[in-house]
Structures are given as structure tokens and as C-alpha cells.
Subunit: 210 residues, 4 copies
């Protein structure tokens, strides 16, 4: 699985620690991490949480990433922004049980975590445990398993509903504030990661042309 | 403020307790609670979490409610469904600090809480504390207050972004599965609460005609 | 390791679930669980949390158990009672990181968990994760490991301090309310588990003579 | 009420913030805070968590304080040390509901909180909320109130039990490592706070003579 890590500016200083925790867990499981940044608080490309949403929408709708790991101070801003996008189902994860239940019941494609609120000493242990619950096995199999069918049905209804409430991603790209969009993809490694992995030519073409 | 309470089927049995906790806190503060249900597990109108999202979108976009309090087993299904709708910014709230920070930083118009996961003995105390943080004072004034301006700016950017990613509510109502929509508004007190308080004639007309 | 499970009366109904969660994790790791009860709310032997403390003291000071897993509604009553006893160092564990840090930093010999407060749906997942952190590896090796030495030193100072504040266990047995003591060891499987595993003849003799 | 604040060395840098949070809540309620320190990481008097326990025992058994607020990185070391002392009933408090339930059910005389684990941005809000639950009203009245009697009875049994397991405080002072004891009371404001408020002449005399 291609997992994209996206940190916004308020918690950019923690990108290294979060990236370490994520890769230490998921690489041995055979997944790949693309660190879209931010990397430090002083990065030239400053990414705010609304941009995180836009970038999450781009990565998931283009197939450049299979899953997005994001967050912000409380996790909420980035979660709201991600969930504003078509095809994105972003959970807010605080502890390992949240992570497990999100994977098994909601089977979404993104999570946001708080990297400031409640994020104290030894928080890397909780990050690792949450990532393990998300990525170690098959997701979407329900919990308890007897309820798998009704859970899958509700997910399908939600996906269908969201397909009606949102415009498609290419339309979104064309209609949003183009300066915001440019800023969202201004990260220094965006081009390297994205164009190599995007499976949607029209999204790639549109972004390249900006 | 008109606060709508919406419970879905998996936690319907707790509606009475949640309603009691909510009214005990917010009515003395001068707010009004409209309990849209469900009320018991055996209600004729069974509301699933995708329907919660649809109903949340209807209530907030029509002005029939100023704020929606919802949730489900983990809170995540209802949160995802609510955030799939235009103009809805729904936080996931676990503890009083979450509630306070959501009110002050994100200033959204809905919250989802877990009513099964982590919901044990004395959980009504946490509900009350969370409601108090949400509804006791002015929201959106930032925390810390020195960061109020940047927080307000990001909220504005997110709202503008979401206005581009989502269709307007009337379009949503016309395009979603009409059986899902009928089920979402089939609660026994929906008509009483909604048509009396909706400020959007076109939404009211469309729903009445169903 | 011989792990004793002790449940008091307020949460006795959950003994089966807690025992299942504990054995499912620790038996594959080579540990043995002795379920001292209570087993159901209607057990003839009703164990209150002060009795849990006394029983914990008996099991650990006699060597009949190497570790005690206990708890109550909030975990606090049983924790206080356990920590009132000589040679008992009982942590209060809420989440897996608590469990890990308690094992590595404090290296105690008992934990109490809340089995009512915060104990909702899927709580068995958190129990399992906590047990795994406690029992899967070597404990007392510090976290981070660079601080192992100072952590071990503090543990030693605490143990030495507590050896001065408390009477020895046999003295405790002789001086406490003898009815309370009899009630603490009245569980239907106490005799089977205890006398077979106690390594302290004087404690065994005293209890047998009651 | 005279509330003593005791911070150990690992989290000494946070003493100012914790003291601010505590006084902002309890002084308007008519309580008095005695900040026994540590005050900064560089204090001449370095207090470890075992010393916190000893100091807590001194303050509560002498009547110099009515309640002790302490903690450490996870809260557990200071909690274990405090509970090792005669007459001390120290809860571990993570959130406001813990604080409320500890006050109402266990009615202890000390709490430990984690000041590193889970202690992130905006943690001062949680501190304030916890302190308010602990100190704003009468404690020991049970929750729910229908269970007040049985809760009070169990507390009495525990207090009686602990009176048998522990030596009295003066004996403890005489038998513990005298260097540890001297270090525990070496804080620069200990003498000012303690001798003015101690109600136990023999404890005061013993400590003065050291």
C-alpha cells in the first residue's frame, strides 16, 4: 500500500518523529511511505490544514496514494478539510482501539491524529500502536465479524451518498481558489512522489499545467 | 440556539440519557433542544448513520437547527456522514477539552460523540461536561486568544473550499437516493420540529412533496 | 509467570470477559492465569475492594502469584487497597501506553483497571492490548532505555521506603480484622489455587488455621 | 482547605504552569495553595518521586496540608510512593470524570497526575477542569448518591485496613533512610510552609532536629 504522510504547518516540527513511527511500523509490513511534508517549520512551502484537505483529495482521487495519514494540533482541522473532499473518508484516531475500529468498521482511506493536544512524552508509542492496528491486516472485515455485512452495507450507502454531495475531483481542482491549490502542491517533494504514482492522467495534467 | 439531537439505530436505546444530559446543561443556558430521535431501538423509523448525515445537512442548511449533536457507536460513522454534506463542519468529541477546542478553534456546527466505545458507567458526566464546553459561551474566539485571527482565517478558507467541493443542499436532496432521503426524515417528530423552524422554503417544499 | 485475576463484587459480572481477554493474550506467551474470582454477581463469596487489597497482598507476598490483575468500577478502590499492602506496587492502567510504561518504568507487580468507567463496547480490545504490553516481554528495562539506570534506582528507593512504612505480611494478617480476612479468602477456588502455589509456609499455615 | 502542590524533578519545569492552573481554580473557591516545589529543573533541592511520597506522608499526617496535588511523568511513580505512606489515599487522575469520581467515591486526600505522558498542548485546560471537580464542592457524597452509604462503608474499611498495614508516620520518619528524608524536606520553602501549618508537634520536632 502507498501511504502518504501529510503534516501541516502548526505541527511541522514533528514530521520527523511521525515519519519515523510510521515507517518503523508499516515498512516491515510491506507498505511504502511517501512523506509529502511539511518537514520543518521553516519549509518554504507552508501547508495549512485546508491545503491538507485539498492535497488529500488529490492523492486519493488520483490513486497516487492508497491511504493518507494526516493530522494537526487537535486533528480536527485536517479531518474536516479531508472530509470536505470527494471520495475521502477520514477518521479521527486517538488510540489504538479507534484505529482498529475505524479500519474494520469504516474502512476509510485517511486518518487524522492530534499531534499537539494530548501529545506528550512517549506519544510515539501510541502512534506506532495506532499505525499497527490500521495497517497490519485486512481492513473492512467488521467488528464483531458477525456484523460485517451490515457494516459493509452502511459504508456502501455512505459512499454512494457522498458521490452525490460532492463534485468530482477534477471539477474541484478547476473551481477552487487556484492560489490555494498551488500552495497545496508546493511541497518540495510533491512532484517526485505524485507524478510517479498518479493513475489519473487528467488530474496529473491539470496540476502540471498550473 | 436551536440544538438538534440525532441518534442512529445502533445506540437508539441511549437517546433518553443523552437527551437528559443535553437538556440539563443547555436549557439553563437558554438553548432549545429538538430531539429528532431515534428514541428507542424499536422505533418504526430506523435511522442509520448515513441518514444521520443527510438529516444533519437538511437541518443545518435550512436553518431549522443551529447546531447538531449526533454520534453513533464510535462516533465515526455519523461524523463521516455529516461531514459529507455541504455546509456541515462536524467534530468528533471525546472529552471536554476536545469540546472546548472544537468550539473555539474550529467553530463548527455539529459534533459526533461515541455512545458505545469508551461509553461506560458515569458517561453522562462526560456528556454534560462536553456540552457545557460547547454551549456555555461564545465560540470561535480562538485558543489561545492570540491566535484567534489565524484560526478564523483558516476556518474561512475551509468554508470557501467546501463550498466548491460540495453541491448545494437542494441539489443534494434532488440527486440522492430518494428512499434514503425519505427514511432520513421519517422520524415521528421530524415534521413537527422541522417545518416549524426551517428558514429555507425550497428545502421545506421539496421535503414536503416527497 | 503466575498471574492472578481478582474481581470485586461491583464488576463481578465481567469476570468471564476479563478472564477470556487475559488468557487469550498471556497463555500463548507461556503464562498461567489463576482466576480467584469473583465469577458472577451472585457468588456466595462477595469480595469488596478492600478485600481485593488484602488478597493481593497475600498472593504476592506468599509467592502464590507473580503478578495480580485486578480492578473495580474506576480501578481506584482496588488500586488504593492493593497499594496499602506491603510489597505491592499496583499501577492504574487505562490504555496500552500506560501498561507499557508501567511495566518498563515502574516494574510493579499488580495493575488495577477500570471495568465500568470508560468501559464500553469493544473494551475487550483495550484489555487485550494492555495485557500484551504488560506481559509480552521483559519488564523493567526502562523507557527510553537510556534512562534505565535512574529508573531502576528510583524503584529500588521506593521498595526500600515501602519496606519501612509497612508491616510485614504475616503481621498484617494477624492484626487486620479477621472477618475481613476470612471474607477475602472465601472464594470457592482460593484454596485450590493458593495452597498449591504459595511459597511461604507461615502465611499458608496462618490462613489454613483461620 | 490547605492544598499542597509537590512536583518532582522530571517535570519540575512545569511547576509554574501547574501552580497557575491550580491557583486559578482553587483560590476563588477559598482554598490556599502551598507550593512545596520543585520550582525549576535547576533547584538546589532535587526531589525524586520516592521523596514525593515521603513528603506527602509528612504533610497529610501532620495536618500541614489537607490535600496533596502531585504527579510525575506518568503520575504512577508519585502515586505509588504516596500510597506507600500511612494515612495517604492517592488517586491517579487523568480526566475530569476521574477527578469527580475520586472525590465522590474514594474521597482520598491526594492525587497524582501525569505531567508528561498525554500532556500536550492545552493540557492546562484539563488540569483546571480536574481541579474544579476535586475542589469545588463537598466530596465523599457518593455517585450516584443512592450508593453513598456503601461507598462510605468501603472507605472506612480501607482506612481501617491501612491503619493495620502501615506504621504510624513518626515511626516511619525514624526508620526510613535519613538522607532520603532530609532530601525530601530540603525544598527552599518547606520550612516556611510546613512549620507554620503542622498540627503535629512530634512530627515537627523530629524534622526540625534533623
Amino acid at each position: 500500500m502507498k501511504i502518504a504522510l501529510i503534516n501541516e504547518n502548526s505541527q511541522a516540527a514533528k514530521n520527523g518523529d511521525i515519519h519515523d513511527a510510521l515507517t518503523s511500523v508499516v515498512e516491515p509490513l510491506g507498505h511504502e511511505v511517501h512523506n509529502y511534508g511539511m518537514y520543518t517549520v521553516d519549509d518554504a512551502a507552508q501547508v495549512t490544514y485546508p491545503m491538507v484537505g485539498l492535497l488529500t483529495g488529490i492523492l486519493l482521487n488520483s490513486g497516487a496514494a492508497d491511504f493518507v495519514v494526516t493530522g494537526c494540533g487537535t486533528g480536527t482541522g485536517s479531518m474536516l478539510a479531508a472530509n470536505a473532499m470527494p471520495g475521502v473518508f477520514c477518521g479521527l484516531v486517538i488510540d489504538p482501539t479507534d484505529a482498529f475500529l475505524f479500519a474494520q468498521i469504516n474502512d476509510g482511506n485517511a486518518i487524522a491524529m492530534p499531534y499537539a493536544k494530548g501529545f506528550g512524552w512517549a506519544a510515539e508509542l501510541n502512534l506506532q500502536d495506532c499505525y499497527r492496528k490500521l495497517f497490519e491486516g485486512e481492513s473492512g472485515i467488521g467488528y464483531p465479524k458477525e456484523r460485517a455485512e451490515i457494516m459493509a452495507k452502511n459504508r456502501g450507502v455512505l459512499a454512494e451518498l457522498k458521490s452525490k454531495t460532492c463534485h468530482d475531483m477534477l471539477t474541484v481542482l478547476k473551481t477552487v481558489d487556484q492560489d490555494l491549490l498551488k500552495a497545496a502542491i508546493a511541497g518540495e517533494k510533491f512532484a517526485d512522489h505524485f507524478y510517479a504514482h498518479s493513475k489519473d492522467q487528467s488530474i496529473s495534467d491539470y496540476l502540471r499545467a498550473l
